[in-house]
Assembly symmetry: D2
Homo-oligomer: 373 residues x 4
């Protein structure tokens, strides 16, 4: 079986998630390639070494450029800060590596476009880490829509709300700086719900957006007595028009008190409706309009082995998969995509499409007018 | 105790709801005036007579003009079709009657303005039947916001979705005709959620709206083989800016499969969040950001005697009040407003304000630009 | 139309609930008899007079014996304290009155038996106020079971938990005294869930019970520094065997922190399951085992006009009826039962059957063995 | 770091779950020992070989006796059918191995006792796979109870219901045969809820049980036209008395239509209540009686990094861990228990205690009387 040798850049929050998924993926799935946890890069070579040991990787480096140039790496997995995605991806592509990047693909559309074109020109494969769409429950939602069980989609409402910056005392960090993060809630969280809208309904053609920076200044992390400017939005909302004629709304916030993993959607069709919240990631609510009178209602389906990918984790329904397991499905797609040329999606082209929607929302909000995507 | 003599015009769906509320109001509340169910008007005098007997009214008439002119009527209660509200209200005001009108106040802003000005000029009291804000649970929401328990409101998301026209086979009726209904989902349902937004957050200054008529033709009720044009929107969405700086979104639909009483809201503040759905009208979810670490979460408060107006119905928490009971609270406000000059709200001025928002959304949707209210 | 003249004894918590229901019943339903709110009895004649005025009754008395003897009374409605039910009912029956009594019918089986026999001998009609089974949602549950939609019932789990005595500082009142209340949680709350079990599943033949008085002493209401003995159980549980072969469990508590209206049931059949909680009294959850693979789940049915009695309150689904509305359905049954000889259930015989089950549980708990009912 | 070399017997449903957990455990946790996936045993040596490759184990064997005797095995992990647990464990203990066994520990108390005594005599460490108590959410429940946040526990209601045998057409398998399974629902599922009761409340001293075999015959898997006897219970219920004075009820069923992972509990204390269902394994509902009037309610806590063990999987609250992750926590306990002598619980002594409760319930049900444990 073909080996797929992974070079992981960054071992913070999401890098660890990738590492856990690499660790379990070949036990969960019958993969078409062999995962080799080859090398870890971290800025500090000592940290890199420790993390490699902890996360089960063979080698480590303090220089990501060494990793992307290494001949024994097949896939460069970018879990570094967002502002570095572009440079790393381009350099990896230049060395002919496949690239697996965390979202958002880049800080703006121009960068995402450059990365996408470079990957296409080089003929390398790409994947972007929009992991929530890999949850069997959302795959089930997709299946129900694709089969026409709720008719034609006429409306989509989606959110990705969290509250990690709800407290005004939380110091300013990279999330709040345009040079490091690009957009605020839209880039960090909104990217997921736009991808989910694409996945479930299709592409978005026009938007009318609005944004608000509620907490305009935050303490400097180095000197809390000093306040620094927050440079991007805490929350955003947008009216959407899809290319297939459906209308919709998405919202995102990083200060939505009480939302811990508030990726939610309601997809309304001509024959039924789906409702979902990621905080109950094992449940999909389905309403079918043609159910008999007096027996209509939203049915709470617990994800189980009858649904996509679930049975690989557990053969009993309702037992539940977790956050890291979604990433494991994504890594299955990565390995099978590279080893057996299976479809890998969401690729850079989708990452670019998401960026276009986000940027259109932001421009629309600033210019106060509808924008085409 | 002063008598408050009621003349009820219209005994359909909502007229019966009023009648049930009149029947129980003086048993539920210690009113400041005595309700006299004086007269019912229906187009058909025979029906009027039967309904008067059934609903406990003394007299009946087949001519609403007779009712509004009757010297023994203090309040004209308009439960007639929407397109008649204006004429009836103006005529009632001309006879110096107080006017209690169902929502929407009128088919457009111009009419609502005329009615409001006429009532002000005549010095009569007015009330509009936005009953959902009378639910103790939503009054509790208001109380929590007013006391600052969730801090400053930064975001409002509200819907009023139902599915009464979800089936394309449902024949065209007055709801779908501009001359009879004015707006579609916005006028019939959206009026409630705009009023709720006003009640909970404050006035709206600007909107960017979008609308869609999904089912463009429906069977003619007289000849189902013939299709007739649907003249107004099935669903609408709008970005909102409130005068106090909060942002928001409202949505409404009459084809939202599965939504039976989908008036919902999420009010996000700087210190907490409220969530509500009218389908669970006895529950309010409250999140307080400053709860201790590890003990944070949305608390489901069951409405009870500690909350506004509930104890008049039942002294035990969680036992629940129903749809008609909301109207009973409204009628308490009506009677006490007229007999003792207590505050009556939402009055025509609020009905007008709601109309302005709805019309701004509709115009915004057609012209595809932000509109001031 | 025949008049049904009501004499109401007691205007406390539940007496007011009856009064509200009398007030609205003829507006809600097309009754087969005319309700006449004839007379109110209260110990204090002044209170009686005030309450009669407030609750819309014509006359009042400070002596319930006068009421039960009054020739212009057809139905004696007993909302007096439990320990008086027997004497009042027997006296009313002696005067040939129909009797409508609140639950529990009596303090023990012997009394309930005597009352039931007396009513049968006198040929008067009886009704006991187990109002929760009148909720359209529980009537729907009954309908689903009766039609075989969940197959044969194999298990019933039911609770009626509240928390009105959860605080050890709440002073001792009549609930805690055997001479006034008989049993504790079992008599006050358990009666409802036993009746519900009868209604939904059928009669109970054997029980194994357990009881606990958690808070053994409470402050004397007159002298809080003095503690007095609690004489009956705070909570109880019982294994059940039904005559039809199903097994079950019921539980009840008056100290179940957080349960405000914790009447709940889960009815498991060979082909499906029903779940219900009175705190969400408009929702019934239905699972059908034969639903297609991958589309199984509990469906949340919102009560609506397709279900028993709902449409009389409102013609739109999901709009909700309240606690007092259940009593209104009960009063519809009372009036139609007396005026038109419609079936009146739960009658005294059912009240007696409930008492037998409760007493069997209590004896079983004390003797620590299974007891036949 | 000390190596902990695992010998896994059985790679069916639960064996795979163990394997997935072994794969990810060292990436998730900073373990105190190094996991070595040494050997797999399966009846068929070819299958053993394939499974070893798939699950990341070094060696394989078709003879479990070879595995338990292997000098390079430190822990024997028994995921074989229940009827083999005893023989395998005794043999492993005889070879001085630590034993990690799936539940139920044995088919009856005598066997469990023998195994427990043998392990104690040999001084080997033991662990039983009651994985649900390892869920951070249930660990949080334990923490809340231990800190006295809900006061003294006065009542426990617990279930473990599933529906894997709900269909009468499902052929008879080992679950239904006493020689292979021992008890029915009690042994397979009830074991979990008894362990959870022990974990959360404490030991059980007396029980009164009842059992029912609903589907008395099932098709022979080899000849579906022939029906064979079901030898153990489909469902069971029991009243409980805990040694600390609390009362309780547990129920279990394998035919409870709609219950997919119906491990649920309600723990009522003198100052508050906890509610939990494993189907929403990331949520704990907490009610605190002393919350301010009008602000009381069940709070839904989403498990997060403030709770035990969660942060090792993900540092953001509400993102969720899955079924296999619970086993990963268990394996952390195993490895740290063996490598660093950390406490390992539930051990064989607890497995034995669970067996005693289950057997007391079964005997109580047959003899129809209360039984001491």
């Amino acid at each position: 079986m073909e080996k797929v040798r992974i070079g992981l850049i960054g071992t913070g929050y999401i890098g660890r998630c990738h590492a856990i998924a690499y660790a379990q993926a070949s036990t969960v799935f019958s993969l078409k390639g062999e995962i080799v946890r080859e090398m870890v890069a971290e800025v500090n070579p000592e940290v890199a070494k420790q993390q490699a040991a902890l996360l089960g990787f063979k080698r480590s480096t303090g220089d990501w450029r060494e990793l992307v140039a290494d001949p024994d790496i097949d896939v460069v997995d970018i879990c570094a800060p967002n502002f570095l995605h572009k440079e790393m991806a381009l350099e990896a592509i230049r060395h002919g590596k496949h690239v697996y990047s965390e979202k958002p693909l880049a800080l703006d559309v121009a960068d995402a476009e450059e990365m996408t074109r470079a990957a296409e020109a080089a003929g390398v494969k790409t994947l972007v880490g929009f992991n929530y769409m890999k949850n069997p429950t959302s795959q089930l939602a997709k299946e129900i829509i694709a089969r026409g069980e709720i008719g034609e989609v006429v409306h989509f409402y989606g959110t990705h709300n969290e509250d990690y910056l709800a407290s005004p005392n939380t110091p300013l960090d990279w999330h709040c700086q345009r040079a490091l993060a690009g957009l605020g809630a839209l880039g960090d969280l909104g990217a997921h719900i736009v991808n989910m809208a694409h996945f479930l309904v299709g592409n978005i053609s026009e938007v009318s957006g609005d944004m608000l920076t509620v907490i305009k200044q935050r303490p400097d992390p180095k000197d809390p007595s000093r306040l620094r400017e927050v440079e991007n939005e805490d929350q955003a909302s947008a009216l959407l028009r899809f290319t297939n004629g459906a209308h919709g709304v998405i919202e995102t916030s990083r200060i939505a008190c009480g939302s811990k993993m508030g990726l939610t959607y309601v997809v309304t069709g001509t024959k039924g409706t789906l409702r979902y919240t990621q905080e109950r990631m094992a449940e999909l609510e389905l309403y079918i309009h043609d159910d008999p009178a007096g027996r209509q209602g939203f049915k709470t389906i617990l994800t189980g082995p009858a649904h996509p990918d679930y049975a690989s984790f557990c053969i009993s329904a309702g037992h539940g998969i977790g956050f890291n397991d979604q990433k494991t499905v994504e890594i299955r797609d990565l390995i099978n995509g590279i080893a057996a040329n299976d479809r890998m999606w969401p690729d850079f082209a989708e990452g670019l499409q998401v960026s276009k929607v986000l940027e259109a929302i932001a421009v629309s909000a600033l210019e106060r007018r509808w924008m085409p995507v």
